[in-house]
């Protein structure tokens, strides 16, 4: 092995290590940039942990125009400890935001459900902000057979 090829190998290793460290730092799975940016704008640099949040969605969607989803967060919902905000993000629709829900201790239980549009098979992410400032997330992978934007 010549000196230059050894150096090339070293930089390649360095690059690999760099790429791996980026993967480890990311909270969930590697996502398209717009969704990551929208999530960063929502959490403001705070670490997002997995757990506490349950995102229920059908794994196989026949019609992307109306997909029922449900988000439940484990929380006692007392005035000291409650879920402040629940936000939903997607990867491949024209915009990364889906909805932001603002809850209060008066809700009694942290559950929200709605119907959304999906333009393609993709991952959707639900992130909950608790009253202590921590963020928790859950991801669901959905396969869409008839996307919402197909008719145009």
């Amino acid at each position: 092995m010549t000196q230059s090829s050894r150096e090339a190998g070293a930089t390649r290793r360095k690059m690999l290590a760099g790429a791996l460290s980026v993967l480890v730092v990311r909270p969930a799975r590697a996502t398209p940039e717009s969704m990551a940016a929208a999530i960063q704008a929502f959490v403001g640099g705070v670490e997002v942990r997995k757990g506490r949040v349950a995102l229920d969605a059908p794994p196989l969607v026949e019609n992307g125009n109306s997909v029922p989803i449900k988000v439940t967060v484990e929380s006692p919902m007392t005035s000291q400890n409650f879920v402040r905000t629940v936000a939903i993000f997607n990867e491949k629709n024209p915009q990364p935001n889906v909805a932001t829900f603002h809850l209060s201790p008066h809700c009694g239980r942290a559950m929200v459900s709605t119907r959304i549009r999906l333009g393609d098979s993709q991952n959707i992410v639900a992130i909950a902000q608790l009253s202590d400032g921590t963020f928790w997330s859950d991801t669901a992978e959905l396969i869409v057979t008839l996307p919402a934007c197909a008719e145009t």
């Binding site: 109306s66 997909v67 915009q95 603002h102 929200v112």
Partner: protein
């Protein structure tokens, strides 16, 4: 503005957690579709929903074009006192739809 369907149980026990469902008819035009003339159809979605219980805001939502047409929302509320639950939807043309439901707490 629109037809509204609200599901609030008429009576509840004190402290009971009830589910509220609200549906409004609205096209939720995304602003990404082209019309028959080839131009983009302007965006018109319901951008905000709020729910007040006896004047106190207990739940609200900021909606985006990814919400399906005729947006449906369901959430939980702890029934604490007899009174009015008020719902408000606002769309991009600043049209406001107000609805109320009575709840009796025993």
């Amino acid at each position: 503005m629109a037809r509204v369907l609200i599901n609030v149980p008429p009576t509840a026990k004190r402290g009971q957690i009830i589910e509220i469902k609200a549906l409004i008819s609205h096209p939720m035009e995304t602003g990404f579709r082209t019309g028959p003339d080839g131009n983009l159809v302007p965006r018109n979605i319901i951008k905000r929903f709020t729910c007040n219980y006896n004047g106190e805001e207990i739940f609200s939502a900021d909606l985006f074009p990814a919400i399906a047409a005729n947006p449906f929302l369901s959430f939980m509320v702890a029934a604490t006192e007899t009174g009015l639950i008020a719902f408000q939807w606002i769309d991009d043309q600043d049209q406001v739809q107000l609805e109320t439901a009575k709840i009796t707490v025993e």
